[in-house]
């Protein structure tokens, strides 16, 4: 009985750590080389905000789990056209009107998705 409790504690500990690790998991960005470091730093800040808004509004439908790891898909530039996103499908029409995601926020999300480092070919 005691052993069972110990195992449970250890297991939940591992799980908890994993959750923590996942939370900490940092997304890296790829900025064009011509962009000065100062501008890159500013964009990184915007991207961080965009990431949080992405997690809040988009991740639930768009992220996939590959080998237990949350993967944010790569979006092409054609998919990231401003307001068109709002009506590009039925789900978006219901979930992304101005009253739920503002124009500014949409801008941050697309900025994040534009500069997010592309996934390894194996995790497409």
């Amino acid at each position: 009985m005691k052993r069972a409790i110990a195992v449970t504690i250890i297991l939940s500990g591992i799980l908890g750590l994993q959750c923590f690790a996942q939370k900490k998991q940092k997304v890296t960005y790829e900025f064009p080389e011509q962009m000065s470091p100062a501008v890159q730093a500013e964009f990184a800040k915007l991207c961080d905000k965009g990431k949080i808004l992405y997690d809040l509004n988009c991740a639930q439908c768009h992220n996939t789990k590959i080998k237990g790891k949350e993967v944010i898909p790569d979006f092409t530039q054609e998919k990231l056209i401003g307001y068109e996103l709002r009506v590009s499908n039925q789900q978006h029409e219901a979930d992304m009107p101005d009253t739920k995601v503002t124009a500014e926020e949409l801008g941050l999300i697309t900025t994040f998705l534009t500069y997010k480092k592309k996934n390894e070919p194996s995790v497409k």
């Binding site: 905000k49 949080i52 307001y83 709002r86 009506v87 029409e93 101005d98 739920k100 500014e104 801008g107």
Partner: protein, 640 residues
């Protein structure tokens, strides 16, 4: 027994196969569209060859072309239902109110202003009346219209016809336009043709509904809608053809608005899905054109837009109210939002043509606009400089002649007050993208506070929504507003501001407002030109709302007029140009409206019926205490 089963299976299979091979049904409806489109194209060609073969220097020749233009317009009116919705920017090449327009349909606020030239048929008709008519110009206008029309045959347009979805969304826009522009002469240069064109549109829509119901029997236009629509046709046919005598009020209240409600119900019942940017501001939940949720407008909740909990919303509003009256938002801690947007004066300053500058000596260049219904504008400020309410707050706070502050310093001062800092820190969990309290939180609390005063309705709204009684003079005033007085071609139903269906742009107009009442010179304010320098935007200003106007004097961008009567006289004489000022680009016709004294009184009565029954609030008793002692002698509302 087995044989029987087999036979029934075969019969069933054959039935399924034959059913799936049958025309999916959209044929009749699509056929109707193509037939009408062909007829329009043929008429355009006929107009073109008429222009080529007619001597336009004679009055008989000019008359002949005019007739052909009208025939073409009539054909266009049959297509209006689809054209405007399916490709609104192309539509303007065929029919538009002005030869050159900027950003009349702004889908993305971040986009640079864009120019649209053309206006095809409208312009051709207007052009014919000019002294020296050049055939080539006429031909090129019509050719432009023909080229634009070809767009409506493209796959990207016709693919919509495979399903029923676009139909109810087209119909929604059609009904909104019946209330806002189709009876006012918005794009119809010949006022005698307004009601005849309306009748064509209505009777064609009726035929189209029938075609649609044949093709989409599972999602039909309902019988009660059709019955009411037939009554609307009867009404418009039995009303006078003169748009000034036409009863716009009854037409909208008893027909257009109830039809809109029925269409909204069908949109809901049939789970209609939009794939068009045209719909992005429209609200599927609105049950009347005169409900404030008809379109989204600005986001008054700002960064707090994901907060739904009413208790939390009430907390934000409470903090917003304190901030609104708190001079801590200014550089010298003397000036608050309430200084110039006085809550006791309909959130404007009725004492001055323009409010005092930061130095308390000079006047600001423009009149303080009322904050009521500000959220129903697409662009903010009289020159449309800002795309959001929150940006406007940031700009005013840091403007050296307005509140003379600096965002960072103000934020620090605000956070030095325990009540503010506690409240905002508690709200941080709703804004994970901003882990620290920033100016966006401050601005959003402010906009949320004042926006709550825009939720109220006027006696006119009550008459439209609930058949409440309304003064007969106000009703007559509305009918004039929609016709002879030419107000509604810029102050659109239902907000009576410059935002027309589908409510995704703010219009700007050049009126020729004088610097002083003596009409000696034009106001020097460049208006929209400051934001978007172009010939057409010089002295242009965003059209304001007429709601509560009886209480928001003085009027115009520079507050030059003190009474509503003066404003009406200004328009009656044809704006600045009508008063003899030289205005090269006035968008308002410069000829007189010939309004009688009674008519002017009726207009004032109607505008009075747009006073909303607002419950105002008393100022807060005291302001939050700061850790910085020097800040604690600031007064509620500031010393202004």
């Amino acid at each position: 027994m087995r044989k029987r089963l087999l036979i029934s299976i075969i019969i069933f299979a054959v039935a399924v196969i034959s059913f799936s091979f049958r025309d999916n049904g959209s044929g009749i409806y699509t056929g109707y569209y193509n037939e009408k489109l062909d007829a329009f194209s043929r008429q355009q060609e006929a107009l073109l060859s008429c222009i080529r073969t007619t001597d336009i220097s004679t009055s008989a020749g000019s008359e002949k072309i005019k007739q052909q233009i009208q025939l073409t317009r009539n054909r266009l009116k049959s297509m209006d239902f689809w054209f405007r919705y399916l490709e609104p920017t192309v539509y303007k090449k065929i029919n538009g109110p002005l030869p050159v327009e900027w950003e009349t349909e702004v889908f993305e606020k971040f986009e640079k202003p864009y120019k649209r030239e053309g206006a095809g048929l409208t312009l051709a008709a207007l052009y014919l009346d000019e002294e020296h008519v050049n055939k080539d110009t006429l031909v090129s206008l019509i050719k432009q219209s023909i080229t634009a029309t070809a767009t409506y045959r493209a796959d990207s347009i016709t693919k919509n016809f495979g399903t029923y979805h676009h139909f109810f969304l087209c119909n929604r826009l059609f009904l909104l336009n019946l209330a806002a522009i189709y009876t006012t002469g918005f794009e119809c240069p010949d006022t005698a043709q307004i009601i005849p064109e309306l009748r064509i549109m209505l009777s064609d829509a009726n035929n189209m509904y029938a075609a649609f119901n044949e093709s989409f029997p599972a999602t039909p236009v309902t019988e009660n809608y059709l019955a009411l629509f037939r009554k609307a046709i009867y009404f418009s046919n039995t009303q006078p053809a003169n748009y000034t005598v036409f009863d716009h009020f009854t037409f909208i209240r008893d027909y257009v608005n109830p039809l809109f409600a029925l269409n909204q119900q069908m949109i809901k019942d049939y789970r209609v899905v939009s794939h068009s940017l045209v719909d992005y501001s429209l609200n599927k939940q609105a049950t009347s054109i005169f409900k404030k949720n008809i379109y989204n407008g600005q986001n008054a909740k700002g960064i707090f837009l994901r907060v739904d909990d009413t208790a939390v919303l009430a907390d934000i509003e409470k903090i917003g109210k304190l901030l609104f009256y708190d001079p801590i938002l200014s550089g010298n801690n003397l000036r608050s939002c309430a200084s110039c947007h006085k809550p006791t004066q309909y959130f404007t300053d009725t004492a001055f043509a323009a409010s005092l500058q930061y130095n308390n000596k000079d006047l600001l260049p423009r009149n303080s606009p009322s904050l009521l219904n500000a959220q129903y504008n697409h662009l903010i400020m009289l020159d449309g400089k800002h795309i959001s309410l929150q940006n406007q707050i940031k700009a005013v706070v840091s403007n050296p002649v307005e509140m003379g502050g600096e965002e960072k310093a103000i934020l620090q001062k605000i956070m030095s007050c325990n009540q503010y800092s506690k409240a905002f820190k508690k709200l941080l969990k709703y804004t994970p993208q901003e882990p620290e309290v920033c100016f966006e939180h401050i601005a959003s609390a402010l906009t949320m506070y004042y926006a709550k005063f825009s939720k109220y309705y006027s006696p006119f709204d009550d008459a439209m929504n609930d058949q409440a009684n309304i003064d007969i003079a106000a009703k007559q005033g509305f009918n004039l507003f929609m016709s002879k007085a030419q107000c509604a071609t810029c102050h659109f139903v239902p907000q009576f501001n410059g935002v027309k269906p589908p409510f995704i742009s703010s219009e700007f107009e050049v009126l020729g407002v004088p610097a002083h009442k003596d009409y000696k010179q034009l106001s020097a304010d460049k208006g929209r030109y400051e934001v978007n320098p172009a010939g057409e935007t010089m002295n242009a200003f965003r059209t304001g709302s007429v709601r509560n106007a009886a209480h928001t004097m003085p009027y115009m961008h520079n507050g030059v007029f003190n009474t509503m009567a003066e404003v009406i006289d200004f328009y009656d004489a044809g704006g600045g140009a009508g008063h003899g000022l030289k205005v090269n680009n006035q968008t308002l016709p410069s000829d007189s409206l010939h309004l009688s004294a009674t008519e002017k009184t009726q207009l004032v009565q109607f505008i009075g019926s747009l006073n909303e029954n607002i419950t105002f609030e008393n100022p807060p008793a005291k302001l939050p205490v700061s850790k910085i002692k020097a800040l604690n002698n600031r007064k509620v509302g500031g010393t202004y």
